[in-house]
Subunit: 447 residues, 2 copies
């Protein structure tokens, strides 16, 4: 680079955790950001000669790629804590669906998603894959707020407030995909609710469209044991076989949960380069179980991490998800090294980027990728001493220790404070929804 | 109370979560504190007429009893992150014991314990049961800093830096118990490392002394599957039977971990009023497994929560432990309601107080008990909206949301800042230990 031209931003960090190569920790290194992208990562002494318009000192901090939340239903923040103590099916049918049918509209989605983006940014998440209604509202909001998002075209064989027929779902979805083609922040993909709620014809149509657009296809798969048995009895075929018959088991598949995916299924997904999104908190809270993540990774399957929605996971906190993924893998396998700190942090970043087909641009700190950055203060009292940086980052630090966040080089969080969200306005709106949700919940049968 | 005499402290809180009765949430209530104790809990409109020397408004906060960490090795903060990726036995034998033998002395214990107290207070913990060497240093420090502690007399059938023989352990321990008899903050109990490291003669002596002093007896029990098998092969008897033969299965027993305690053992412990300390993070990290907490609670057994030491759990964070306990119970049993938010918060407070025989004075917000209080700000961005207070407290709030902490009516944390610990001095000392621990670890074989 011509050393006389000032660069946009220079961050001198105590540690840089680039995620690639796995396990690397660069001490006293600096990140050069230019035109929204990472230009270079250099030892501090080399970087300090580079002129820059903004120079930041982060002397007790680790800078890593922003987290990629690979499975969210962002607007469901407004249903946080509304449905506790129920397993998947009663949770859906007795509380979540009835509340959604009464409450969800474009305003619900806008306010709930803004609340989710606020929470995710404060916790270091710079990209989320969202699966909900009114995706055009989510896309516009993410673009307005400077957040990176992969926004699903939801495809359901049941009518909802957003679309009445499969044709309407797909027409609206294709317009959305068209509108955001080439957008620097907003990406689109297809989302099927589950095999149970999709006809063979729908699976086939989505497969064709996804292939044409080279877009990921996300689907909830084998979340609970009941789920698995019900799908088999309904369609007379194993759900993985059914997806395969529809041509959907390929490198565009993003299978969410997979708590009950067996060894054969793991092998088939690994062979074709599909991805799994592990949602450990949600799977525990809904009593679904523990996904065989160590076996998936051993088979070479790409595993991403997701928060799921706030009605089954009261925090959109990727650092917590990564920590829990590592702890559960050890506890479930009896191998304390099943998923190490480096692997858990990789799942929470690059794993999600790979699942969503975005790893050429995000997921690790590599020159040329977008400057989607998360800076964690390891200097707080409760984190001392720091003997092993990756262990401290994963297990001792908390989302509250995230000090700064950038998306595409634009700073969205500074000193643990949101720079581009009007939190007072947001609070007023979430307060109003709080009253409406409480009233609606209290009017449900059995509540 | 005579309304003309000013009371010491009046806290007007949005919510009071007294833990007793279970699940209660008192909205717009106030806590009256006098002479270190809770004098009354009243609706705000009644309390506002009471004159007080200090009146605090906590308009978006929940006040609950301070957490009781029922199993800590506090000084091990200095070994945080030093031994990751190993299961229990290699973790102990290849890293923890070799490091301890090189490093542990009274200074290590003083500095490591001060670091632990700082971290615990910032996270809302007001009492910890500690099991380590140099308990006289821990007791003095807790008393100096105003922290409540139950400090173990460690009893091991192996010589350590603190004592060479069983006689020396017990002589020193009895002097300690004598010195702190009737102390308002510091309590003492006996701690056996494990059945494997205790002779029958030692079990018998501890039983006699504990009965005389009416002091709890803590012991690591059935932590790993290996552990259980090894103890059986070594002593030719099930470890629970061996404790029973020694007369130790009674209401003073505090059995830590119990990951592999079977149904019969659960029943026997429940029958006599013994307690179990569940350490969910540590049990996962060391790949020991998941303790059958739902079955224990269903049997009527008192379950407390513990962090364990920082070498197997990189955070001394009782809110995290309580959350994980609830999530794991659901995931492991298939019952999403196995351990609800009210139950998890009870385990983290009253459960620990009961285990340590301290529930007449702490563990719930009841007039007459000590004012050991933790105040959590539920008004932060990432916690909105609050539909269900206990769910939000357990699952959405974090230790970083703890705003204020009092022990026996004395404020130790205000605005998430430690009032009585010199954090600069502490940091200088933990930094020095960080270098020493790193050097010692790097000199171990295989590192």
């Amino acid at each position: 680079m011509p050393s006389s031209t000032p660069r946009d931003l220079l961050i001198h960090a105590r540690w840089v955790v680039p995620i690639e190569p796995r396990g690397a920790v660069l001490e006293d290194h600096s990140i050069v950001v230019q035109a929204g992208r990472i230009e270079a990562i250099l030892p501090r002494e080399q970087a300090s000669a580079i002129p820059a318009r903004q120079v930041l000192e982060r002397p007790a901090h680790a800078v890593l790629p922003g987290f990629v939340n690979a499975h969210a239903h962002a607007a469901m923040t407004l249903l946080r804590g509304a449905a506790a103590g129920r397993p998947l099916e009663p949770w859906l049918r007795q509380v979540v669906w009835p509340l959604e049918s009464r409450l969800v509209d474009a305003d619900f989605v806008r306010d709930g998603t803004e609340q989710a983006i606020a929470e995710m940014l404060l916790g270091g998440t710079t990209c989320f894959a969202d699966m909900y209604f009114f995706p055009e509202v989510v896309a516009q909001l993410a673009s307005d707020l400077g957040m990176r998002a992969a926004v699903a075209v939801p495809v359901l064989d049941v009518p909802t407030v957003w679309a009445a027929t499969i044709d309407e779902y797909l027409d609206k979805g294709l317009r959305l995909a068209d509108e955001y083609r080439g957008h620097p922040l907003v990406h689109t993909f297809f989302a099927l609710h589950s095999p149970a709620l999709s006809t063979d014809a729908t699976l086939a149509r989505v497969r064709t469209l996804a292939d044409q657009l080279d877009a990921p296809v996300m689907i909830h798969l084998l979340e609970s044991a009941d789920d698995a048995a019900r799908e088999r009895s309904r369609h007379g075929i194993d759900p993985v076989d059914r997806l395969e018959r529809a041509g959907l088991v390929n490198n565009l598949l993003v299978a969410v949960h997979c708590v009950h995916l067996d060894e054969a299924g793991i092998g088939r997904f690994a062979d074709v380069g599909a991805s799994v999104v592990h949602c450990p908190t949600s799977n525990l809270k809904l009593a679904s179980g523990i996904a065989p993540v160590a076996a998936m990774r051993a088979a070479g399957l790409n595993v991403a991490l997701g928060s799921d929605g706030s009605a089954s996971n009261d925090r959109l906190d990727m650092l917590s998800e990564a920590r829990l993924a590592a702890l559960l893998a050890a506890g479930a396998t009896g191998d304390a090294a099943a998923v190490g700190a480096a692997e858990a942090l990789e799942m929470a970043t690059l794993g999600g980027a790979r699942a969503m087909g975005l790893d050429a641009g995000i997921g690790s700190l590599v020159p040329g990728k977008w400057a989607d950055l998360c800076c964690v203060d390891l200097g707080k009292v409760s984190v001392q001493p720091v003997i092993d940086v990756l262990e401290s980052l994963l297990h001792s630090a908390s989302r509250a220790d995230v000090s700064d966040v950038w998306v595409a080089g634009r700073q969205l969080v500074e000193d643990a404070t949101l720079l581009r969200i009007d939190t007072a306005s947001l609070r007023a709106r979430t307060n109003r929804w709080q009253s409406r949700v409480l009233a609606a919940r209290n009017s449900l049968p059995g509540n």
